[in-house]
């Protein structure tokens, strides 16, 4: 075990995978000599060389398209998109190609690429360095979508992603890249997909969150606890495949649900969670399902703290739910 920040854990995950398997290689912008704009690939260029830590031209289309070609050929490429906000030039490659190759070839051409990208707000990044559009990828059959919130999960889910057989979108909460640290197992630490992380047990209300929304969710739970309200905090972390059973079980226990994410509300991931509960946990629900999310505006610069969900907003929603029934 070593105490690492979240971004260091990502770095160790990459390093571990590259040491394990010569077929693992990285490609992206500024990931080589520069070590990545967030230093996620720091030191890897030195250890593995330009052949395995490939600085590419400024083309996300090219990065993902080339990664797909490499994967078809048998390598295990990990593509970095510098910010999730810049993934859209590669969107066609991701939704039309990466997600569908295995399917459309009847399994003849599986295509295992990991696409890493930092996402989310809270870093004074404005419209184009703050977005959370995980729902786009969750709505695309054929993609797995994973978001860690702890250093241990960052490494463990990343190693699982790199050794998976399917395409994985791996989104990293840049806001807590350095502010969150924790113990991370050495070596080949893997965290399975499709299982929630129960952050905190509770009986009165379930708070579902992921990524950078976990710290405020826990803060809210602390505050609620002081008033005798017992909030369960569930870190979804694997959005696809989703641990629906655990989600439903939590609400069967608490009867109330608050869904939290940074992304805009309308058609966000929270809507799916809400819909699953309205379908599968209907008879357990004691109160309307609340969503605490970003507003349905582009992500602002000066007013980002107003835009982002925080502990107060989560707490208020949980209190309403508890009051409601």
């Amino acid at each position: 075990m070593t105490e690492l920040t979240l971004v260091q854990a990502v770095n160790r995950g990459l390093q571990e995978a590259m040491r394990q398997d010569p077929d693992v290689l990285l490609l992206g912008e500024d990931i080589g000599v520069n070590g990545g704009v967030f230093r996620a690939t720091e030191g890897l260029y030195k250890e593995f060389g330009a052949e395995r830590v490939i600085d590419t031209p400024l083309s996300e289309t090219g990065i993902v398209g080339a990664a797909i070609g490499m994967a078809l050929y048998g390598l295990k490429p990990v593509a970095e998109i510098q910010f999730m906000d810049f993934i859209y030039p590669a969107f066609d490659q991701i939704v039309s190609e990466l997600a569908k190759l295995r399917y459309r070839s009847g399994g003849q051409y599986p295509c295992h690429v990991v696409v890493r990208a930092p996402y989310g707000g809270g870093v004074k990044g404005g419209l184009y360095h703050s977005q959370s559009t995980e729902a786009f990828f969750c709505h695309t059959p054929g993609l797995k979508v994973v978001i860690p919130s702890t250093p241990a999960d960052a490494k463990g889910l990343l190693l699982t992603a790199i050794h998976d057989e399917d395409p994985v979108m791996f989104f990293e909460p840049k806001r807590i890249y350095r502010s969150v640290s924790g113990e991370v197992p050495e070596g080949d630490h893997r965290v399975p997909f499709g299982e929630v992380r129960l952050v905190r047990e509770g009986t009165d209300v379930s708070v579902f969150a992921y990524g950078a929304m976990i710290p405020p969710a826990v803060e809210a739970a602390d505050s609620l606890a002081r008033d005798g309200i017992s909030a369960e905090v569930v870190d979804l972390r694997s959005l696809v495949p989703l641990d629906e059973r655990a989600v439903v079980a939590s609400v069967e226990k608490t009867g109330r649900a608050v869904v939290v994410h940074e992304a805009a509300r309308f058609c966000g991931f929270g809507a799916e969670l809400s819909a699953i509960l309205a379908e599968q946990a209907f008879y357990s629900l004691k109160a309307p399902i609340a969503r605490v999310t970003g507003y349905d505006t582009p992500f602002p610069y000066a007013l980002e703290n107003l835009y982002l969900p925080n502990a107060e907003k989560i707490e208020a929603a949980a209190r309403s739910a508890v009051r409601a029934g």
């Binding site: 080339a66 070609g69 070839s105």
Partner: protein
């Protein structure tokens, strides 16, 4: 040296590629070209009869496709668009497999997931084609980079049309290939049309080949009706790639004789005269004349080739049409390596629905 014209009457001065294909190979090429033409004709009528749902003919592009395929080795990887049926044939894809795909039956290697013409033949290193134009170009570059990394002495080749030169992936793919000196060949079949848009309105560069210069490697124009010229151009590009000299863009100039696809009515945008003029350089006629000129072929022999092609095709169709339709359960296969719990649930829901007689076909 961004652009050069290659044709068989002026073979490249490079000794290793020689003057081109010997007569027996030319005759073999002819057989493939005829088979492709025969498939085209038959497929159009199968589509009209509702026996297949769609078809995109390749007539006019047989020499380009067969010539290119002849210059490749089995270990090379092909990244096709939807029109490369003749390439698949030459590489050894079974006619039955092609028919299975056109029909989408239960032995279709791709599980009936795709429209006709979107082939994938793993055994032939013929990678799964998609409909979005150009996307295979970056894949071919990535695969070439992978082969380079593994020191495999192979090349990759992407097939695409004149329209595809306007896409994002063309730009990204050629630029990456230039920067990383990827052992890949970009094979553009300029058939003068992107559905209704003529080549001249697609881009105003003088040739498509010259676009290679923007990426730091050579572009070559070749007469795509001349199977030998195409063979030479691709063989040379392959040799460059294998030799570590990087990529080449080849523009094979052809003409699309038929409609863009069975959904298209070309009379809306071009005249019969234009097509007739182009048909004067029908690659099959040109090769036939050449073979007759060297007495490698005579009329009875030619007859036999056509008849053999028709007979082989007829029996493949018969076989493929006997195959039962695809099983409903396959709908949920290959989304992921193993179905997620949600897919299992959906599969179960679908089965229940079917048991209650729900499906209307």
């Amino acid at each position: 040296m961004a652009e050069a014209t290659v044709n068989s009457s002026r073979p490249t001065d490079d000794g290793s590629v020689h003057g081109g294909l010997p007569t027996d190979r030319l005759l073999e090429a002819y057989r493939w070209m005829v088979l492709a033409r025969v498939i085209d004709e038959r497929a159009l009528s199968l589509q009209r009869q509702g026996r297949i749902g769609f078809y995109a003919p390749l007539s006019g592009q047989e020499a380009a496709q067969v010539g290119a395929a002849f210059a490749l080795r089995a270990e090379d990887w092909v990244f096709p668009a939807y029109r490369e049926l003749a390439v698949a044939l030459v590489r050894g894809a079974k006619l039955r497999s092609i028919l299975d795909q056109l029909i989408g039956n239960s032995t279709d290697l791709a599980n009936g997931t795709q429209m006709p013409n979107h082939f994938a033949f793993r055994d032939q290193n013929f990678v799964s084609a998609s409909s979005p134009i150009g996307t295979q170009i970056t894949h071919a570059v990535g695969a070439a980079m992978a082969a380079q990394r593994r020191h495999d002495p192979i090349v990759t080749i992407s097939f695409f049309g004149d329209g595809a030169t306007s896409t994002n992936d063309f730009h990204a793919g050629l630029n990456f290939a230039g920067v990383f000196q990827a052992p890949t060949v970009f094979f553009c079949q300029n058939n003068e049309w992107a559905i209704s848009l003529p080549r001249k309105r697609q881009t105003v560069s003088r040739t498509l080949a010259q676009k290679a210069e923007a990426y730091g490697f050579p572009g070559v124009v070749v007469d795509g009706n001349d199977v030998n010229a195409v063979y030479l151009a691709v063989a040379q590009a392959r040799r460059r790639a294998i030799g570590g000299e990087g990529p080449t863009l080849i523009e094979a100039q052809v003409y699309r004789f038929g409609p863009h696809s069975t959904s298209d009515d070309p009379h809306r945008y071009r005249t019969n005269e234009q097509v007739a003029a182009a048909r004067e350089r029908d690659p099959i006629h040109l090769l036939k004349a050449r073979l007759m000129g060297t007495r490698a072929l005579d009329e009875p022999g030619d007859q036999k080739i056509w008849e053999a092609a028709r007979a082989t095709l007829a029996s493949a169709i018969e076989e493929a049409e006997k195959v039962p339709p695809i099983e409903p359960g396959t709908l949920f296969e290959n989304v992921f390596a193993r179905p997620t719990p949600r897919l299992e649930t959906e599969r179960a829901q679908c089965e229940t629905f079917l048991e209650h007689g729900g499906e209307k076909k």
